[in-house]
Amino acid sequence: MPGTTATPEIEIVIEDIGGGAPPAPPSGGGDDGGDDGDGGEGRGKWSPPPKRYSTAIAIGLVSILMFFMALASAFIVLRAGSDKWIVVHLPRILWVNTCILLGSSFTLELARRRLSLADSAGFRKLWLVTTILGFLFVAGQLFAWRLLVAQGVYIASNQASSFFFIFTGAHAVHLLGGVAALLFVLLRNFEKASISLPAAAEITSYYWHFMDGLWVFLLALLYLGK
């Protein structure tokens, strides 16, 4: 029952903003090129250095990591303290999803290599493939939810299922932030922006690989936590 999960997602979206999750774009999405705001009244052309974006994403990732570690430690503590833990059988499709996500990291790196060779068309093609794979992964996760719901496993069924839905849901929302960043890099006109295309692509790639690794970690946790 997908409808019931709306609220945590909203909460995570809020956290996303805080954690600096939408990585590459400067906050606010950049409608006038960069985040200089309107503080520029009467001032010259001073703007903060572009490396602030990569610093922000590095710190933001630590923050997101803490968020998931807190959930993971709650999982471990409750799992260890419970004597009648009901196991959730992970749907097979999760393995397919994992392969899709790992593949997307691969295509993303290929795209960046194209970019460094100044092959703009090749870059855009591979970048688009990465974006589509990202969407496919989220769709696959939703399908996994449907499979569980069809078996009668809901988020409130037991603690194991709660953790399954919270982990996958929180990760999917963070990953959607990454998809938004991928789309941003694909569609943005970088001539007017305060950040260059390679820099934006690099920052997005950090976030994307991090989400990739995070998913592998969560999957391992859910698998071994059985």
Partner: protein
């Protein structure tokens, strides 16, 4: 007289083409100074709201029959009482103690002190300010609606506050790392900036954990999950508490968040106090490197100590001993800070103005509160004490009042820079002494009340004798509270009067301080440093320098000019 001051104070002249509407200039400006001021206004509003609530509570405690505007209208007074305490706590902790020293002064002065003209992400900054405002409304509204949905709304508001704090912390961290001006190496950072920076990193970690906790709590309430199972929780509580769950739930929830907040609120206050003491003793910070390390230590321990509260509230799955040891070892960095303050003050020509008085008041309160904290770090005692008067006294002295003193000290210090006028000194000193004596009269007897009610070494006859004294002591506390609160009217009058009619500041650097914000006009122009980018030549605390025209050398004065002034 030759000074380093670049001359008279040039107040800001509005640019012809700039947007001058009230909304875009103040409320929705992305300028770091406007946002910092907005946080300070918000804190001022919240502090008076919170104080009014504590008055209601004290009066209700001592004279339960008195008709009170809020409480009497609501039928189930006991439940209201618990939610009132939570609301008082939330406003004070979240919107005053967390917002004012970090987001308020930090937003205004961090960029100025490191020579940046903006925060790293100005729009994100504005967004987090408005999220904070929304969380203030949410928390207040939570009190006014039915308790069950009130708790939910309160948690949503706290989640929103956490998100806003995360964004602010991210902004502070990136600004300090990437936006420092030429010459501003890390060892040259003022201690205030160090404190804001370390605090921001601590905030990034703690608020994400709180965010995860909020997610689980809200999922429990909306989706029927059982992360925080009430059944498990109640089975571990004494029977008398289980009977009225709801008030306890409110209290526990509050402490759950407040414990993490203690260190977030205190860290910038340490920085502010160190800065003020050094400036007004005209002495370099004693053992500056060690102070920075101690601040880092407070951050690290503060992060770990978070588990301390878990055993206080009986929800802790781990060994209490670990946290107890950690909580006690927080004493080490705290002692280093204390020694440094005393070392700076030693033999100094102290300028005892209001700002310095409040800084010294902070040291006194911190010492007094810290000593009772050592008792609380003992896990056997802590289990008995949560939410009783000993903890209330300790918590208020060390966190609430001490931090407020640091905020007031900083306000008296920076008021000339922010508004171009000084606060009135005699009125300020009177306000300080009344408040200082007042808070000790309020919170010291509370420690005693807390200890007495948990003692079991006396015979029942003596306990009965003590019990007759409890009433008068409580009345004394309430009367002292009333007087202390009325002393704050002095501050409000001083503040509002000085804003429009205070003595004008003639120079850029009225306190003869060393950091970069004193190189610009009061109030600073919109772009902070004008055409020329600032350059820093030395550390932040060059006081009592021999052979120069004055006893200090600011960070922004080039060596050639210093040589000229010899």
């Amino acid at each position: 007289m030759v000074t380093y001051d670049s001359g008279a104070n040039h107040p800001e002249t509005p640019q012809p083409g700039s947007r001058n509407g009230f909304l875009s200039r103040y409320l929705f400006s992305t300028n770091h100074k406007a946002i910092g001021l907005n946080y300070l206004w918000l804190a001022l509003f919240s502090v008076f709201l919170g104080v009014a609530m504590s008055l209601l509570m004290r009066i209700h405690l001592v004279w339960p029959g008195v008709q009170l505007p809020f409480l009497s209208a609501l039928a189930d007074s006991q439940q209201r009482f618990a939610t009132l305490a939570t609301l008082h706590g939330s406003l004070m902790v979240f919107l005053v103690l967390t917002a004012a020293p970090q987001a308020g002064f930090g937003n205004y002065f961090l960029p100025l002190q490191i020579g940046a003209r903006e925060m790293a992400f100005p729009r994100l900054n504005l967004l987090s300010f408005w999220a904070t405002v929304a969380s203030l409304f949410g928390m207040t509204a939570a009190f006014l609606i039915a308790p069950q949905s009130g708790i939910t709304l309160w948690m949503v508001s706290v989640a929103l506050f956490c998100a806003a704090s995360l964004a602010t912390a991210l902004n502070f961290t990136v600004t300090t790392i990437d936006l420092r001006c030429k010459g501003m190496s890390l060892p040259r950072l003022p201690i205030t900036v160090w404190a804001w920076f370390i605090n921001a990193i601590l905030g990034m970690l703690i608020f994400s954990i709180l965010m995860a906790a909020c997610l689980c709590l809200l999922s429990d309430r909306f989706l029927g999950t059982q992360f925080f199972s009430t059944v498990n929780f109640l089975s571990r509580q004494p029977a008398n508490i289980a009977a009225n769950v709801l008030p306890v739930l409110w209290q526990r929830l509050f402490w759950f968040f407040a414990q993490a907040e203690v260190y977030i609120a205190m860290l910038p206050c340490f920085g502010l106090t160190t800065h003020l003491i050094s400036t007004f003793s005209r002495r370099p910070v004693w053992k500056e490197r060690l102070v920075v390390l101690a601040l880092c230590g407070v951050g690290v321990f503060g992060f770990c100590v978070w588990g301390e509260h878990m055993f206080s509230s009986g929800m802790n799955p781990f060994s209490p001993l670990v946290f107890s040891v950690l909580a006690s070892s927080l004493g080490l960095p705290a002692s280093i800070l204390l020694l440094s303050w005393l070392g700076t003050l030693w033999n100094a020509r102290i300028q005892l103005n209001t700002s310095m008085l409040f800084a010294l008041g902070f040291v006194s309160l911190f010492l007094a509160g810290g000593i009772s904290g050592i008792f609380l770090a003992r896990h056997d005692l802590a289990a008995a004490a949560v939410s009783d008067e000993f903890v209330t006294g300790h918590f208020h002295l060390v966190m609430g009042v001490a931090a407020t003193f640091a905020i007031l000290g900083a306000l008296f210090f920076w008021f000339p820079k922010m508004f171009g006028r000084r606060l009135n000194e005699p009125l300020g000193k009177l306000h300080f002494w009344l408040t200082f004596v007042g808070v000790y009269c309020v919170f010291m007897p509370m420690h005693w009340l807390g200890l007495v009610s948990h003692t079991n070494i006396y015979s029942s006859a003596r306990l009965a004798a003590i019990a007759t004294m409890l009433g008068p002591v409580r009345t004394f506390i309430t009367v002292a509270t009333l007087l202390t609160v009325f002393a704050q009217v002095l501050f409000l009058v001083n503040f509002l009067w000085s804003l429009f009619g205070g003595e004008k500041v003639e120079t850029c650097n009225p306190w003869r301080a060393t950091t970069l914000e004193w190189s610009v006009g009061s109030p600073p122009p919109a772009d902070d440093f004008g055409v020329k980018d600032p350059v820093v030549y030395r550390g932040a605390y060059e006081f009592s320098v021999p052979d120069v025209i004055e006893d200090f050398v600011p960070q922004y004065v080039a060596p050639e000019e210093v040589a000229k002034s010899r």
